[in-house]
Symmetry: C2
Subunit: 219 residues, 2 copies
DNA sequence: TTAGTATGTGTATATAGTACACTATCTCAT
DNA sequence: ATGAGATAGTGTACTATATACACATACTAA
């Protein structure tokens, strides 16, 4: 029978592409049970903010960016996931363009914040390795039928650049011609006038038809 | 900035098939802002139970059934979703076989509990019409690549019966031959010796290869 | 024996996904 | 001016999956 209620927090898996790798932001914990361990950033949800707002606020505090793709992932509520306190955590996934981030900042409660290669995460605090696994699955799935990568790209980009991002996230090589067919079938892109320097044939630049999150099929 | 923390509740969309319709359990509220309105059953999460446990407990209290399909759906956390209190609600979806339920019971806080046709829901309390929409989408989606309907069927059943349930949930007629092809490709069923009375050719009975929730593809 | 009723089954077509290689266009070096 | 180097851009054949569609079969009951 319920007596008292758990606390509510949000945790955010903030993805970016950097140096040809899929990376996430982690913060280093100072508090007792997890001293020195890394975890996804997050914090308690205030009385006067929705879950989405709490996630957006935390993302802004850490990275200084707004208007990126942000989606609720799953809610983790095991009793012992935080050994000293009962906290239910609503996990979110965010996608940010690394160029738009000047500096990562965190509060005094933490002793560090940095980008980590998603493929080589250390053992994380709480149940955050499970969170990471869910987040990657969801990201890969959504890639197939939405335009969510717009958050990872500049306004104008080449097909090769777009394909590279897909390859990094999916963790496998794609065929150029089949990739174009798929992207075309989703009807996400608009051609522009070509640009792109380089000691070779210049590539045409594309832009997204819309830079708002747009679901192509049912979720 | 967070000050205090919202309360945490679970709400459960309990589906069944009855009289050829997809139905859900609703309870009638007594408390002030929603007096007389119907809502999905649920309640606050206790300090010593996980979210899943809270959902399972509530399902058991209302219906007396255990061991059915139960899945977390989404977490609703708008500030004003409950006008008098700040409650974050983790919504769950459950599938139960109506035959296994003797009686619906609820606590003194509510003035009624009953089954409602999912296709004709009244205006519900809180944000529960949105919850209903999400739940139906998820149910339809999961139907396509999992064995979750096992919770809605007896141990032995005919293909016609199985197909009928799919048709009710999806809200459209299916072709018998194509349906069989699809079910076979999922490799969910085992043939048994035929039975089934009736004034016509008797139908072969099938059973599920396994009656645990089993994901066929990635979620 | 027959009428009635639901079962059980196969093929042809359309659509989506995958495998696969060569020509075109530019820059830079000579 | 020419050629080497480098990446861009493009089409077809094959496979797998999804859809449309109709008739013979096996039982019960009169």
């Amino acid at each position: 029978m319920p007596k008292g209620s758990p606390k509510v927090a949000v945790d955010i898996v903030i993805f970016t592409i950097d140096e040809g790798k899929l990376k996430v932001i982690l913060i280093r914990m100072e508090k007792k049970p997890f001293t020195g361990k890394w975890a996804f950033p997050g914090g308690l949800v205030g009385f006067k903010e929705s879950l989405d707002e709490a996630a957006r606020r935390d993302l802004y505090e850490k990275t200084g960016v707004k208007n990126v793709y942000l989606e609720q992932l799953y809610t983790f509520g095991d009793v012992r996931r935080d050994p000293f306190s009962r906290v239910v955590s609503v996990a979110y996934v965010a996608l940010v363009n690394k160029n738009r981030i000047k500096k990562l900042t965190t509060t005094a409660k933490y002793t560090g914040i940095d980008w980590f290669n998603m493929a080589k995460l250390p053992r994380l605090a709480y149940d955050h390795n499970k969170v990471a696994k869910y987040a990657l699955e969801r990201l890969r799935l959504k890639l197939e039928y939405t335009n969510i990568v717009f958050s990872l790209l500049p306004r104008y980009f080449t097909l090769a650049h777009l394909q590279e991002i897909y390859e990094i996230i999916l963790g496998k090589k794609l065929d150029k011609r089949n990739f174009l067919k798929k992207i075309n079938s989703l009807n996400l892109l608009k051609k522009t006038r070509k640009l792109e320097k380089g000691a070779h044939r210049p590539a045409r630049l594309y832009e997204f038809r819309t830079r708002k999150p747009r679901i192509i099929e049912i979720l």
